[in-house]
Structures are given as structure tokens and as C-alpha cells.
């Protein structure tokens, strides 16, 4: 039998070592939170589409893969970081709206079931990812060369990529929620999540709103993608894992709860970095889905979701 070594070990540590251990724990928690902030962006993006249009937007994974390539291409073409960033996000937004225009809007008008939306989106995912791979190759690429600059905050160390990614994600997420709560358009978003048919009967342009939803979610995904691409590089096939994280965050957070998806994203980031520490990076993805299974089993409405009646579940 294997004894619980770590605990035993921790009890006989010198005070100095104990402090070191605490620092390490704190550092890993922080790393997890920053990773989680990017996951929260994914969760928010996926949940935004899902809660307003009931579309499982798998093609977001392809948009995730697209953004850094546009950034790199325009950097190579001589545009500065600012211009390239705008261009990358702009292209992502266009791709998102394209999905709505050629798939989900026509399907909606035909009254197609959710399965048709999903299969179409899977097809779109395949097409976009393969186009990216044909244009730019299947290899991993990087946005920066050499070792990243490291900043020290007391005992904690953060790379520049982490600071940029974390700060960017927090800013975007908080301003998004402010916008959702404070503006007329934000209110229309929430109304559409509640009942799109009634909203259009009240004279609001649901088509325009849907286009906005798809565009915004693509923009959010592009930001998450650029944050992680700057940190660890990117390839055409990384979008799948990202969109799966977004899906899991949406379910764990609770159907229709945007804030829940954000919190679930943070939680996933922390748990995944603990898994990497205590087990291995190979089990990260399996751990994500283990969490999903636990949530579905014990709390199928999600952490922050409401239980709905059967006929309310659209």
C-alpha cells in the first residue's frame, strides 16, 4: 500500500520550507486563474451564442484557430501590433457573422432542428480549419521569439504573456458585463435569450441582433486565442480543445447564465493547472470532462443555472 507521502512530508517540514511550499501553491493558483481567465472568455463566447440563439457554435473553434494566423500574416506584412490586432479581431468577427449568414439564419428560417445547426457547424469547423491548414501549413507557429520577459510581484512571478492575457481578459469580460447591464442593446440581448419570438413581435430586429451575437462571440474567442497564442504558440488544430473548454464551461456554469460560464471557466483553469501539477499535462483534457460528468450527474442544471420545466427547455 502506498502511504500518503506528501502529507506526512509536509508535517515535518522546517518553517522555511513551509513558506516555500505556500508560495508555490499560490503561484500555481495564480497561473491557473490566468489560464482560467482565457477559458472564461471562451465560456462567455460560447454561452453568449448558446443562450441567445440555442446554436451549438462548434465553428468557434475554427475562428479560434484563425485569429493568430491573421495577426502573424499582417505582422509579417509590416503592420504594427495595433493594426494587426484590429485586423485579426476584425477577420474573426467577419468569420463569425459568415457562420450566421450562410448556416444558422437560413436554417432558422427553415425551422430546422438543433441537430441540423450542429452538423452544419461541424462542417463549417472542418472547412475553416482545413483552409487555414492549406494556406499556412500544419506546423506550430509562434508570435514571439526567445524567452518572455518575467515580472516579479513580491514572491510571485508572471511572464509578460500572462500579464497581458490576464489583464486583457479581465478588462474585456468586465466591460462586456457592464455593457450588458447598462445599455439598451444589452437589454435586447438578454431579452433575446429569454424569448426571441416575442422580441421580434415587439419590433426589434432579431436578425441584426443575431448577427451581433455571432460577431461578438467571435471577437471574444479571437482575444482568448491571441492571448494563448502569444504565450505558447498556435497551430490550425488547437481550436477544438478551446471550444470544448467553452462548451464545458457553459454547461458547468449553467444554461443561460453568462456569469456562470465565466466563473466555470476560471474554475476549469485552476483545476486543470492543479491536474498538471499533481498528475500530468496529458490528463488535462480528461480532467475537464471528468468535471463535466460530475456536474451533469449531481447538478444537471449547472452551478448557477435554474431548473427548468421540460417544455421550457428549448
Amino acid at each position: 500500500m502506498v502511504l500518503p507521502r506528501i502529507k506526512w512530508h509536509a508535517n515535518c517540514l522546517s518553517p522555511h520550507e513551509k513558506i516555500n511550499r505556500r508560495k508555490k501553491t499560490l503561484q500555481i493558483l495564480l497561473n491557473g486563474l490566468i489560464q482560467g481567465a482565457l477559458f472564461a472568455l471562451m465560456g462567455l463566447a460560447f454561452s453568449l451564442v448558446y443562450s441567445t440563439t440555442r446554436v451549438l457554435h462548434v465553428a468557434l473553434g475554427a475562428i479560434y484557430a484563425l485569429a493568430p494566423y491573421i495577426l502573424l500574416a499582417s505582422l509579417n506584412a509590416g503592420l504594427g501590433w495595433g493594426g494587426s490586432l484590429i485586423l485579426a479581431i476584425g477577420f474573426a468577427v467577419l468569420a463569425g457573422m459568415l457562420c450566421e449568414e450562410i448556416l444558422h439564419w437560413p436554417f432558422l428560417r427553415r425551422g430546422a432542428p438543433p441537430e441540423v445547426h450542429l452538423i452544419g457547424s461541424l462542417g463549417m469547423f472542418l472547412v475553416l480549419v482545413q483552409v487555414i491548414a492549406i494556406l499556412w501549413g500544419n506546423d506550430v507557429q509562434v508570435l514571439r521569439n526567445g524567452v518572455d520577459t518575467v515580472y516579479s510581484f513580491g514572491d510571485l512571478r508572471l511572464t509578460r504573456a500572462q500579464v497581458l492575457g490576464g489583464a486583457g481578459a479581465v478588462t474585456v469580460i468586465s466591460s462586456f458585463f457592464l455593457w450588458l447591464r447598462r445599455t439598451e442593446l444589452g437589454m435586447q440581448f438578454r431579452a433575446m435569450a429569454d424569448n426571441p419570438v416575442l422580441l421580434s413581435l415587439l419590433g426589434r430586429d432579431v436578425r441584426k441582433l443575431r448577427r451581433l451575437v455571432f460577431g461578438m462571440s467571435a471577437g471574444l474567442v479571437a482575444l482568448a486565442s491571441l492571448g494563448s497564442a502569444y504565450d505558447t504558440g498556435f497551430d490550425p488544430h488547437g481550436g477544438l480543445d478551446a471550444v470544448l473548454v467553452g462548451i464545458v464551461a457553459t454547461i458547468v456554469g449553467g444554461r443561460g447564465s453568462l456569469a456562470g460560464a465565466v466563473l466555470a471557466g476560471l474554475l476549469l483553469g485552476v483545476i486543470r493547472s492543479e491536474v498538471v501539477l499533481f498528475a500530468s499535462a496529458r490528463w488535462e483534457q480528461a480532467a475537464t470532462f471528468a468535471i463535466l460528468a460530475l456536474i451533469l450527474f449531481f447538478r444537471p442544471q449547472g452551478l448557477f443555472g435554474r431548473m427548468l420545466r421540460l417544455e421550457e427547455r428549448a
Binding site: 436554417f107 452538423i119 491548414a133 454547461i251 483534457q285 480528461a286
Partner: protein, 289 residues
């Protein structure tokens, strides 16, 4: 000739895959996305039984079917509780978890290195006739399984499955045991695709986890979607079309680096086009309502 035989053998394998997936999608209305994972489970189970334990060809296939059938509980039990979107997400999760198991469980599956030197089924030892022999053996198996499935369609089992697909609540109120039916459908479909996985492993001789990814699941899905759901000939046509596509693309003499990408691109386009213009597939009867 051996090239044509090679294609025909692949067609046989994928006919089983498409027919078993059609059982779930076409008859049961259950959108299963983890089919490639069960294909892989069957391939690994059979390959390990043949190489590690050295048992015969048919018992190995049976082991593959049994393994895939047992693991099908991973999808069928949640299907009691979750429908529509949530069920799709669960089968997506099962696909990813099973794949990561195949990729990471080094001790059993040898991880990304895969399993090599899987023995081929043959009566004579001659290498020139081996493809013919495999073709003949597989043809018998495919015919057998096709008969089982064709009979299942009009059996009480198949009819209740279709009733459940059309209206689950009404089916339940008529006394059809919906939960048991779902478990049985997944058991049968997964066992069949497990056999197909075993046949794949035996023919190719080498397996690694990259043959059982989500992309592969989407390919299987497109076979059923393109061919048509809800009848027997749909999957046949779908498997034939999707196996023909890469061979037609071969004549365009694309550079090797992008050939695989173009193939997947074609599958994706097909899916989108079918969803727009013929959601029930080329020869299908049922479409998602």
C-alpha cells in the same frame, strides 16, 4: 487490381460503421458523435487480444464487440436523462475522453506509438492471395451483419426504436420501455462498430490513436448524413461516396502536404451542402425534425 481490392475492403469496413451509426441516427434519432472512439476501442481490444494473448481471429472480434458494447454504457446511460443538445455534448465528451485514454494509457495502448504487427486473417500463407482472402472473409461478415440489421429494422425492436425517435413521450405512454431500448440500441451499434474496428486493425496491421479522433467521427457522421438516414441502402451509398471522394481527389495530383486537408475540406463542404439542400441524405427516409 490490388488497389481496387484495397478500396473494396475499406468500403466493407465502413459499410459496417455507417450501418451501425444509422441504427442510432436514422432509427433512434440519437446523434452519436463518439462513434470513432468506439471504432477505436474495438480496434484496440481486438489488436491486443490477437497480439498479447494470441487468440484466434473470430474470438478476437467477439472480444472487440464485447468491449465496445460494455463501454457504450458511457453514452447510453446519460441518454436516459439528457436529450438534444445536452446529449450531443455528452457524446462529444465521451469521444474526447476515450481518445485521451487511447492516447495516454501507455501501459496498455502504447500511447501515440500504437500497436504494430497485428496478424492478418488468412487460410493459406501465400502473400499474393491474401487480399482476396481478406476480402472474402470480410464479405461474409458484412453480409451477416447487414442481414442482422435489415431484420432488426422491421422487428419489434426496430419498430419501437423508430416510434421512440418520432415521439418519445407517446412511445413511453404506449408502454415502450424507452430506457432499455436506448441501452440496447447503443449496445448493438457499438458492438457492430467494434467489430468494424477489429476488421480495420486486422487489415491495416497497425493502429494508433490518431485514426480515432473527432475528425474521424465527423467522417462517419457524414457517411450517414450524405447517404441518407433511416433505411438500409442509405449508409451503403454514403460509405461508397465518401470513400470515393479521396480517390477522385487523387487524380487532381495535389501535393502530398495538403492532400489530407483537401479531403477533410471536401467532407466539411458536403456536410454543409447536405444540411442546406437535402437534410435527409441522398437516399434517406428520415430527417431530424
Amino acid at each position: 487490381m490490388s488497389y481496387l481490392l484495397h478500396l473494396l475492403i475499406f468500403f466493407q469496413i465502413y459499410v459496417i460503421v455507417a450501418m451501425s451509426l444509422n441504427l442510432l441516427i436514422g432509427y433512434g434519432g440519437l446523434l452519436q458523435i463518439a462513434h470513432a472512439a468506439y471504432f477505436g476501442i474495438g480496434a484496440y481490444a481486438a489488436a491486443l487480444l490477437w497480439t498479447k494473448l494470441g487468440i484466434g481471429f473470430v474470438p478476437g472480434l467477439m472480444g472487440a464487440a464485447a468491449m465496445a458494447a460494455v463501454l457504450s454504457l458511457l453514452v447510453s446511460l446519460p441518454s436516459w436523462r439528457f436529450r438534444g443538445d445536452y446529449f450531443v455534448m455528452i457524446s462529444l465528451a465521451v469521444q474526447v475522453v476515450l481518445y485521451s485514454l487511447m492516447y495516454n494509457w501507455m501501459d496498455v495502448t502504447n500511447g501515440p506509438y500504437g500497436i504494430t504487427a497485428i496478424p492478418r486473417p488468412a487460410f493459406s500463407g501465400s502473400t499474393s492471395a491474401i487480399q482476396w482472402e481478406i476480402f472474402a472473409i470480410y464479405a461474409i461478415i458484412v453480409l451477416l451483419l447487414a442481414c442482422v440489421l435489415a431484420a432488426a429494422k422491421h422487428s419489434p425492436f426496430g419498430r419501437s426504436l423508430q416510434a421512440m425517435r418520432d415521439d418519445e413521450l407517446a412511445a413511453r405512454s404506449l408502454g415502450i420501455p424507452v430506457r432499455r431500448l436506448k441501452v440496447e440500441a447503443f449496445l448493438l451499434a457499438s458492438a457492430l462498430v467494434g467489430v468494424a474496428g477489429g476488421l480495420y486493425a486486422a487489415y491495416v496491421g497497425y493502429i494508433d490513436p490518431t485514426s480515432f479522433t473527432l475528425d474521424e467521427s465527423i467522417l462517419m457522421l457524414s457517411m450517414v448524413i450524405v447517404g441518407g438516414t433511416g433505411n438500409v441502402r442509405g449508409p451503403l451509398i454514403g460509405a461508397a461516396v465518401l470513400i470515393a471522394i479521396p480517390e477522385i481527389l487523387r487524380f487532381l495530383s495535389l501535393p502530398d502536404a495538403v492532400a489530407a486537408n483537401v479531403r477533410l475540406l471536401a467532407y466539411g463542404l458536403l456536410l454543409i451542402l447536405m444540411m442546406h439542400w437535402r437534410p435527409q441524405g441522398l437516399a434517406g427516409r428520415y430527417r431530424f425534425e
